[in-house]
């Protein structure tokens, strides 16, 4: 299997490599028309994401005297430092790395299109994203239909019953026991190890019962996320006064393409969230990379009111190129790298 001479050929055919090249060119043209500045930031960093669901690769260069440099899981932190310094719209098409993520839709090394718009929030950013996607869809000869907007609150309530989702941050978004019972009643497998982890129960429910309801002939913006899953987004209230993370995810059918935030600009709140994630990592016996103090200093210096979104370029190519496996749009998947 590995190292043999018979695994040298590429996974993607030439048509799909061309599609990826066209996507990059179209994205650059769209950004240039809107005066969004292309930037390049370091792939290797002294700090890393401490999100409890992300694991970073590390390398130990001679230059640091033994301290690891971490391969970015997204270019978000350095791009926010640029935003704090210059307050202009930015984008980057960057290689990113996530350890332990491999499957039909995952490669540990992939390409992220990430952009930030000053003065936008997550709602106006959805329009911005739709505008770019419409261009890419039409260019690929795909029918473009107006995107759906759906709220996690409403979709989960539709599955579990009205009022199943908490409207405040004081209680878990969903009751794990209620989710477990829903799975049991339908003969679906629910991992015992989820225990009383309300976030994990919510994510399982999402994957098994909510996402399959999303239309597969158009883009859906899923908003109204649990405040506990805010990560680097602001927490606010939706139009019904329910507390939500000001964040959306972008889907075509069940396939997630990207993730957008109304960016949190409060350095103190961001530090509390990082510490909470580190605590969870310690409790789980996981690696605890250093918190990005330069990001926190940039937030303290003042991040302009902005919204940002990250889209997986390979996933986009999978949708537009009709690929069933991510290896079909990658020159070389992880095992052939």
């Amino acid at each position: 299997m590995s190292g043999g001479a018979n695994d040298w050929p590429p996974g993607a055919d030439l048509a799909r490599l061309r599609l990826v090249a066209e996507l990059r060119a179209d994205i650059r043209a769209w950004m240039a028309e809107r005066d969004v500045l292309e930037v390049i930031t370091p792939v290797l960093s002294a700090a890393a994401s401490v999100d409890r669901h992300l694991d970073s690769f590390a390398t130990v260069p001679v230059e640091t005297g033994g301290a690891p440099r971490w391969l970015q899981t997204s270019p978000e932190y350095p791009m926010k430092r640029l935003l704090a310094a210059y307050a202009v719209d930015l984008y980057q098409i960057a290689p990113v790395f996530r350890a332990g993520e491999r499957g039909r839709f995952h490669n540990p090394e992939f390409t992220m299109l990430e952009w930030y718009r000053v003065g936008m929030d997550h709602v106006t950013l959805m329009e911005d994203v739709a505008s770019l996607l419409e261009r890419l869809w039409r260019r690929a000869g795909r029918a473009w239909r107006a995107p759906e907007r759906r709220s996690c609150h409403d979709l989960v309530d539709a599955v579990l019953g009205a009022g199943a989702c908490a409207g405040t941050a004081k209680e878990p978004f969903v009751d794990p026991d209620r989710v477990r019972a829903h799975f049991a009643a339908r003969g679906r497998s629910f991992p015992e190890s989820v225990g009383d982890d309300a976030d994990a129960a919510f994510e399982l429910l999402l994957d098994e019962f909510v996402l399959p309801e999303l239309p597969d002939d158009r883009v859906t913006f899923l908003h109204g996320w649990p405040p506990s899953r805010a990560a680097l987004a602001r927490v606010g209230h939706d139009e019904l006064g329910r507390m939500v993370a000001e964040r959306f995810e972008l889907y075509v059918g069940t396939l997630e393409l990207g993730n957008g935030y109304h960016e949190l600009a409060d350095a103190a709140e961001q530090r509390i969230r990082f510490e909470r994630e580190l605590e969870r990592r310690r409790a789980g016996g996981r690696e605890t990379p250093p918190v990005d103090e330069r990001l926190l200093a940039a937030l303290a210096a003042g991040l302009p009111d902005c919204a940002g979104v990250a889209i997986g370029l390979e996933r986009l190519a999978m949708v537009l190129g009709g690929a069933a496996h991510i290896d079909e749009v990658l020159a070389f998947g992880f095992e052939r790298a």
Binding site: H53, R102, S193, V194, A200, F202, E203, L204
Partner: protein, 188 residues
């Protein structure tokens, strides 16, 4: 007994679930909502043959099953049990009806089979992927009809029934794919 973490999961891995040995048929990594990652699997209960879905949290560990696949030679059947021999040690084992399943349809004397042992006892028997058998009975052939796609049932000595092209005759030897039970070619 060793444990396997979800990141070691792959098709064919043998694991213990609910006290029974299972084989992983397929597995998929999912990570909904940028949150907890899960591994969705389809697993086959090696005792009952039933395939069920099972979801694990990424990082969960499961006990590996003491299941071993060994090459053994099929000797004979006495109607109740099917007898196999280890070609290296000459040790003999017998597999009952539950373990043999449908495999008996494809067993020719002396055939090298894969016998799955669980705690040293035969759990399942996998015949060779391809076998060559003589047709005992089938409707008369249509001479020269090698082009049209029609088929007819042919009965083998072993009791197996295989769909064969119309031009195949009684007494002819054919090659069969035992995994699908389908005719592959005529053997000259």
């Amino acid at each position: 007994m060793a444990n396997h973490s979800t990141n070691e999961f792959k098709g064919g891995l043998k694991i213990m679930l609910d006290g029974d040995p299972h084989a992983i048929v397929s597995n998929e990594f999912v990570k909904p909502g940028k949150g907890q990652a899960f591994t969705r699997t389809r697993v086959r209960n090696l005792k009952t043959g039933r395939v069920v879905e099972r979801t694990f949290k990424s990082g969960d560990t499961v006990e590996s099953a003491d299941v071993m696949d060994t090459k053994m030679q099929y000797l004979y059947s006495d109607g109740e049990a099917w007898h196999f021999m280890d070609p290296d040690t000459y040790e003999q084992l017998e597999a009952g009806k539950a373990a043999i399943g449908d495999a008996h349809l494809w067993l020719l004397d002396g055939a090298e089979c894969e016998v799955t042992l669980y705690n040293g006892q035969p759990l399942a028997v996998t015949p060779p992927n391809f076998v060559e058998m003589v047709i005992k009975e089938t409707d008369p052939g249509l001479r020269g009809d090698t082009a049209t796609g029609g088929t007819k049932p042919a009965h083998m000595e072993s009791g197996a029934v295989v769909k064969v092209p119309l031009f195949i005759e009684e007494g002819e030897k054919i090659r069969i794919d035992t995994r699908t039970g389908e005719y592959v070619s005529r053997v000259k």
